[in-house]
């Protein structure tokens, strides 16, 4: 049984227990202001440092992205995009990629193992690795392509939003390390208000489409972006324009479960009822007589 109370867990994968709801905690959020990011990767270094992760040295793949992708040992990654705006000017878009900590997490929805993925009252979605069975269902559930399966232990890893630091009143390591204030951390309402100021500023400087990325398709997120081109999130290294849990996953984890179980139970019950109504189909003495006759005739 999960320790809901002390951890303030509000949702737990593959579980039917209803967690205590009385205590109310403010939701937190990390706000990443893409317009203030200088691409220094201090956040990546801080993440490695705090979480004690070391990605193997890889190969140069023709971009500033280093390493080339998220991995079990890379929970956050700066993704660099060279984008030509409609005026023909080059814009260098740098987005810190990582778990968005969705209010409706697709990973948690898809997870079959009780308590392997939990959502805390403050909004953090956390993987509890001791319960992880390595099936990779969360990878299919995630609309942002974040979780990564480790070949070392067949468990899945992603950003924890430094749940261990947040639990003791500290900000995530990446926010702590950011030298430009592009990553800030606080309550979701404070962060939304701060984002509003930043967006007003960007608009006053000619970025008419500046806005907050807090996508409603996943119930909002606890990692939000200030984008200078919020009308086109996908130009930021494929940030989904309208992320939501795939309908395929919803069908599989939604209707399919009760319908399948009811269908199989129904099939078995129909069998039982047939037995009750028609009874067993038994060989009669005259069948044996006929059968033996056929055999004897052909034997001669």
């Amino acid at each position: 049984m999960a320790d809901f109370q002390s951890l303030d867990v509000v949702r737990r994968s593959a579980s039917t227990e209803i967690p205590p709801q009385v205590r109310v905690q403010p939701e937190i959020a990390k706000l990443i202001d893409v317009s203030r990011c200088i691409g220094c990767k201090a956040c990546q270094a801080a993440c490695m440092e705090w979480n004690d992760l070391r990605q193997d040295v890889g190969y140069f793949e023709g971009s500033y992205d280093n390493p080339a992708d998220l991995s079990p040992a890379t929970w956050t990654l700066m993704r660099f995009t060279e984008w030509e705006d409609p005026k023909g000017d080059l814009e260098w878009l740098i987005r810190k990629d990582g778990c968005m900590h969705c209010a409706d997490p697709g990973c948690l929805e898809a997870c079959p193992s009780p308590g392997a993925i939990v959502q805390y009252a403050n909004g953090i979605v956390d993987f509890v690795s001791e319960n992880c069975i390595g099936c990779g269902y969360c990878i299919k559930g995630c609309p942002f392509n974040i979780p990564r399966l480790s070949q070392a232990d067949q468990k899945v890893y992603k950003c924890t939003l430094c749940s261990d630091r947040v639990a003791v009143g500290q900000e995530p390591a990446c926010a702590k390390a950011c030298p430009t204030g592009a990553i800030v951390f606080g309550t979701k309402s404070d962060m939304t208000a701060w984002a509003g100021e930043r967006i007003d500023d960007l608009k006053s400087r000619g970025f008419d489409q500046a806005g907050l990325y807090d996508p409603a398709g996943v119930g909002g997120t606890h990692v939000m972006y200030v984008l200078h081109h919020a009308d086109k999130p996908s130009i930021y290294a494929g940030l989904p324009d309208n992320p939501q849990i795939s309908r395929l996953v919803q069908a599989w984890k939604g209707m399919m479960k009760p319908i399948a179980m009811a269908g199989l139970a129904f099939t078995a019950v129909v069998g039982f009822m047939h037995w009750m109504v028609a009874g067993p189909n038994e060989v009669q003495p005259e069948d044996e007589e006929h059968g033996r006759k056929v055999l004897d005739e052909k034997q001669e």
């Binding site: 593959a14 579980s15 039917t16 079959p112 193992s113 009780p114 319960n131 992880c132 069975i133 390595g134 099936c135 990779g136 269902y137 990878i139 299919k140 392509n145 399966l149 067949q154 795939s246 395929l248 996953v249 069908a251 599989w252 399919m256 479960k257 399948a260 179980m261 269908g263 199989l264 099939t267 078995a268 069998g271 047939h274 037995w275 028609a278 009874g279 067993p280 189909n281 038994e282 060989v283 009669q284 003495p285 069948d287 044996e288 007589e289 006929h290 059968g291 033996r292 056929v294 055999l295 005739e297 052909k298 034997q299």
Partner: protein, 215 residues
């Protein structure tokens, strides 16, 4: 094995072993698969040593099943080709369900219901194995897109539910039609059983080989 006097051989020892290996795999697959399908059934992972072991072993059961069923397929496919009488037999299904087979066409080695089970199993096992490969992330994760994995996952669970349904029908039919289970345990059936349920097969068997040799 010594057979009851006057019985007809229906399944050779190898065919029976082949069948029960397949059956064992299917049951293990259903148990381990349902454990990962529905949270209420997650406790079934305890049968396999926990969640991670269940996840790891499930595809291997599937691999053994595929190989075993392939042999079963080769063994039985020629007896399962659809014939005109099979369609007529399906048309007379309500008589069959009422234990009155006299009003249905005479049946050869397999009736239309058994043939449908055979072909459904064949089709579903192929779908399950193909979709299962796509979501066998330990070995095959890099080779397909996440979108394809989602499609495969849904398809895999749909096919699994269908095959468990077919399995229920298969087992129920074997229990309902008395004297049938013996065919797959001892390998033989009685002359009366053959007359009642597989009359054409009885005649053919009697004509061709005499009563006690295996088919």
């Amino acid at each position: 094995m010594k057979q009851p006097p006057g019985s007809l051989a229906r399944y050779t020892t190898m065919a029976r072993l082949n069948h029960w290996i397949t059956a064992g795999c299917l049951i293990l697959l259903a148990l381990s698969g349902m454990a990962l399908f529905h949270p209420a059934l997650f406790f079934l992972t305890n049968l396999f040593g926990g969640g991670a072991y269940t996840r790891a072993i499930h595809p291997w059961f599937g691999t053994v099943l595929l190989a075993s069923f392939a042999l079963l397929f080769i063994r039985f496919v020629r007896h399962n080709l659809w014939e005109r009488d099979d369609t007529r037999w399906v048309g007379a299904i309500r008589h069959v369900l009422a234990n009155d087979e006299e009003h249905a066409p005479e049946v050869g080695r397999y009736n239309a219901g058994q043939k449908l089970v055979f072909w459904s199993m064949t089709l579903l096992i192929l779908v399950l194995f193909a979709s299962g490969m796509v979501i066998w992330d330990v070995y095959f994760f890099p080779y397909t897109t996440i979108h394809l994995k989602r499609v495969a996952q849904l398809l895999h669970s749909l096919a699994a539910v269908l095959i468990i349904g077919i399995w229920i029908v298969h087992v129920y039919a074997a229990l309902w039609v008395r004297g049938t289970v013996q065919a797959m345990t001892r390998g033989s059936v009685s002359a009366g059983w053959s007359w009642r349920h597989h009359r054409r097969w009885l005649r053919e068997t009697a004509r061709e080989r005499g009563p006690t040799k295996a088919a």
